[in-house]
Structures are given as C-alpha cells and as structure tokens.
C-alpha cells in the first residue's frame, strides 16, 4: 500500500516538475509582456526532438543537449524579434494569436525537419531502478526533480539578488518607469522569451527518456503548463511551480486510484475549478481589475 502510494507520488512529482518548468516559461513571458505564449509547449518539443536528432547525427549526447537548448532559446529570441517586436502597437490579444500561429508553424517545421515518429533518449545515468520504501523509481526521475529544484533556486536568486533580475520585475510592474530609469525594455522582452524557451527545452530533454517525444508533444505539455501557471496565479513564477507539482500529483493519484482514462482530463478540471473559484490562482494578486 505504502509502496503504491510512493510510486504514484514520485510519478506525480516527475510530471509535475515538467509542468512546473513549462508553467515557469508561461509566467516569465506573461510577466514581461502580458502575452500568454501558446508556443511554450513547442519549446519543450524542440528541446527533446532537437537532442534526439542531433544525437542521431553523431553529436555526443551532452553536446546535443546543450545545442538543442541554445537552439530553442534562439527560436524564443526569434519569436520575440520577428513576431512580437515587429507588431509594436498590437494588442495583447493579437500577440497571443501570433503565438498560436507560431506554435502551428513550429509543429509543421518539426514534422518536416524531423519526422512524425516517436523517439526517446537514453536515461542520463542508466536504467537501473532504485527502490524507495517499496516503490521502484527510475534514476531519471531524480534527474528531473533535481534539475527542476536547481532551476527554481537559480531563478529565485536571479530575481531577488541581481539588478538585472530586479530590472525584469520592474519592467513587468511598470514598463514606462522602467524605461525612464534606463532599462532597455526590448532587451528585457527578448531575454524573457529566450529564458522561457530554454526552460521549455530543458523540460523536453529531461522528460524524453521517460515519456519519449514526437512533433506533437508540445500541445498537451503546453496546455498542462498553462494550467499550472493559471493554478499558481499567472504572474507568479513560483506559483507556477507549485501549480505544476499539484497538477502532476493530482493526475498521478487520479490515474492510480480512480482511472487512468481521466488523467488528461484532470488538468482541465483543475483549470476550470481554478478559474471558477480562484480567478487569480493560488498565489496571484488579489482583486485583479476587470475591464
């Protein structure tokens, strides 16, 4: 019984950590631009697929991972430069539609550039399972949890301790005042898109050995990450992390104790409940104005 519980818990934390990383990506871009970037899931796909195909082309795996993450960050930069910055005076709704367009383009490009098959990567440190209190977990699970925790710590430090991090917060609070103190607001936007893309790509690399990947995985992962961000309160990066973990755990226990058929539905039930009863999420600003 305990073994089963631990098993579900780890399974939930693992997918939860991935949702958290995707949710963080949503939050970073939302904070900088108030845009909900629906191409966030495609960053996850590009990280995984990019690594798979670079490795298949003979690039050593660690290098393939780094190149895929940097490459995806460049796609994030490009999305900001070509789509968001070019349409300077467009409304937020227009920008959101642009990101939906971008997600379709990226999926199409991946289909052509890569293929439609499912691919996997070797686990980072072998397939030897580890026994924890009667549950069997893979070492990749520990990689996912460890790297996610590390990223959260580094981001905390970045936003709370560095002037650049604070400049990004300042820009999200008041872009006009940010410009007036000399913050390069276009650079902050560019950086936020690049960081989000890199986070997505890291999530993609981490999860591929467990769930495998194909050109369409971004759709579901994007929606899950979006749910995580909504649940945590959209503008709050660390809320998105908690939201992701809750979502992953609820899914895993739902699938384990109720029925695995409803696994994906859990995310949407959570999102709907959150929107009905806590429109500003668990950690969102209270009393968001309605126009």
């Amino acid at each position: 019984m305990l073994g089963e519980f631990i098993q579900y818990l780890f399974s939930g934390l693992t997918s939860g950590a991935i949702y958290a990383l995707v949710g963080l990506g949503f939050a970073l871009i939302y904070n900088a631009s108030h845009v909900i970037n629906f191409a966030q899931g495609e960053f996850v796909m590009l990280g995984g697929m990019g690594t798979v195909f670079l490795a298949a082309a003979g690039v050593p795996l660690p290098l393939a991972v780094v190149v895929a993450i940097i490459g995806t960050a460049c796609v994030g930069f490009a999305l900001e430069k070509l789509a968001v910055e070019q349409t300077k005076n467009a409304s937020v709704v227009t920008l959101i539609i642009i990101t939906i367009g971008a997600s379709i383009v990226l999926r199409g490009a991946a289909q052509v550039l890569f293929d439609k098959q499912f691919h996997t990567l070797p686990a980072f440190s072998g397939d030897e399972p580890i026994n924890v209190l009667g549950a069997t977990i893979t070492s990749q699970t520990l990689w996912v949890l460890g790297i996610t925790a590390l990223i959260v710590v580094v981001l905390q430090w970045f936003f709370n301790r560095t002037l650049l991090g604070k400049a990004i917060l300042a820009t999200s609070v008041n872009p006009l005042a940010a410009k007036l103190v000399g913050i390069n607001v276009s650079f902050v936007l560019l950086l936020s898109f690049g960081m989000s893309a890199a986070l997505g790509a890291i999530a993609g690399v981490l999860i591929t050995p467990i769930t495998s990947t194909n050109f369409e995985v971004g759709i579901m992962l994007g929606l899950k990450g979006f749910s995580a961000a909504i649940l945590g309160g959209l503008g709050n990066p660390f809320g998105a992390v908690i939201g992701g973990l809750i979502l992953g755990i609820v899914e895993a226990f739902g699938a384990g104790y109720i029925s695995s058929e409803y696994k994906d539905a859990m995310a949407f039930i959570i999102i709907l409940l959150a929107l009905f009863f806590m429109p500003s999420g668990l950690f969102g600003k209270k009393g968001t104005e309605r126009v």
Binding site: V173, K179, L180, G182
Partner: protein, 234 residues
C-alpha cells in the same frame, strides 16, 4: 545651453499635442514650465526622455543631437525624469527602487550615492526594506526623486512633483527642489502649481494647448498681468 529644443511637435495618433515647442535650459538653471491641465507638459517631458515620439523638431543635449536616441541612452547621458504620478515600482523594496535608478551605471559603486539620497530623504533610509507600494504619497514622491537622482543626472526633469500632496508636503518638496538646484543640478520643473514653481525658478515658460505663449524670468512672469489672470488666480 545644456538642453535645446527646437520646433518640437508630437502627436497621439492623428491628434497633435505639441505644435512646435522651443525651450532652452542652461547649465545650473532651474527652469519652470507652467500651464493648465492638458496643455502638453507631460507630453513634452516624455518626448525629452525618449518615451514619446516626435513628429518634428530636434532635441540637443550638451551640443549633441539626441532626437533619435533611445530612452536608456538619454539616461546614460544624464537626463533623468521623475514622472507624473511618481510611478514607483510598488512591489519592490525602497532600496531596490533606488538601486534601479542607477541601472545605467552598473559596475559603478553606487553605495555613496545611496547614502547621499538617504541624507536628502532620511525617511527613505528608515523604510529602505519596505515595499514602495506601502509608502504614503509624499514618501513615494521622495522615492521617485531619489530614484531619479541615483543616475547622477545632469538634467533633472520633474513632472508635477507637488501633485496630490498636502500643502505642508508641497512646501517640503519645493524646498528639496531648491536645495538640489543649489547643489548644482540643472532642473526643468513642470507644474500646475504655477506660483510656487515660478517663485523658485530662474526662468519660466508658459505653455497653452501645445504652444509656448510666454517666456521670461520667474520674477517677471509672476508679475505679468496675463499670467496673474490666467494661472495665479489673482
């Protein structure tokens, strides 16, 4: 001249808000720009900071044409603005707000500047760890001024620093403006509070619906019959 503005025009969409403004500010001067609500004062200051586009005219700062410079470049060259309505970064601490004021001087040692701002505004030192949003209106105004001073400006633009403050605080803010000027900062002060602004200014400009209609020494403007009638409520 430290600042020279020639024929500045600026529009919101198809509506022109500034119809050709000429303004000069010399090194060390305190110049007041007064005019009614909606005259274009804020638009003018925003154009000077590079956050509002010009449709015509030029801005020269210390001899160089900065008409096309980005806002961050202007801050680096020494133009710093205290915006209308203070616009502090509410969720960030008082100290973080001030340190962000020195954003364009990264790498420089800004601790001494921070101490100097704390000397000018002791209340900010006591509240340095509190979030800016919890400060009172007067304290936020001081924070916005301190933040602008952290960039070590050569030209300080003040947009209605007395707006919405109790009379006692208004006096305090004007005292500080005068003190900054005595310390050698060049100041362009925008005010609806025309009498008090002109009283401390070397020179003044009167703006009406996007045009400069009068310019003279502060003293002469205060005594000008038209100004008295229109702006001083005398």
């Amino acid at each position: 001249m430290l600042l020279e503005v020639n024929g500045m025009k600026s529009s919101y969409g198809r509506i022109e808000a500034l119809h050709g403004i000429d303004v000069q500010v010399g090194e060390g001067e305190l110049v007041a720009l007064v005019g009614a609500n909606g005259a274009g004062k804020t638009t003018f200051l925003r154009a000077l900071s590079g956050v509002q586009p010009l449709t015509n005219g030029e801005i020269r700062f210390d001899g160089a044409d900065i008409t096309k410079s980005k806002p961050q470049a202007r801050v680096k060259q020494g133009i710093s603005q205290v915006p209308e309505g203070r616009q502090v970064f509410g969720p960030l601490s008082v100290e973080d707000n001030l340190r962000l004021g020195a954003y364009r001087r990264r790498g420089a040692d800004t601790d001494a500047d921070l101490e100097r701002v704390f000397e000018t505004f002791p209340i900010l030192k006591r509240k340095r760890k509190e979030s800016a949003g919890t400060l009172s209106g007067g304290q936020q105004q001081m924070l916005a001024m301190g933040r602008a001073l952290m960039s070590n400006p050569r030209l300080l633009l003040l947009d209605e620093p007395s707006m919405g403050l109790a009379p006692l605080l208004v006096g305090e803010i004007f005292n500080i403006v005068q003190m900054l000027r005595e310390q050698g900062t060049t100041i362009l002060l925008v005010e609806q509070n025309a009498f008090q602004a002109l009283a401390i200014a070397d020179r003044g400009y009167v703006i009406e619906t996007g045009r400069i209609v009068l310019t003279d020494t502060g003293e002469n403007l205060i005594n000008d019959e038209k100004v008295k009638a229109a702006y001083l409520g005398l």
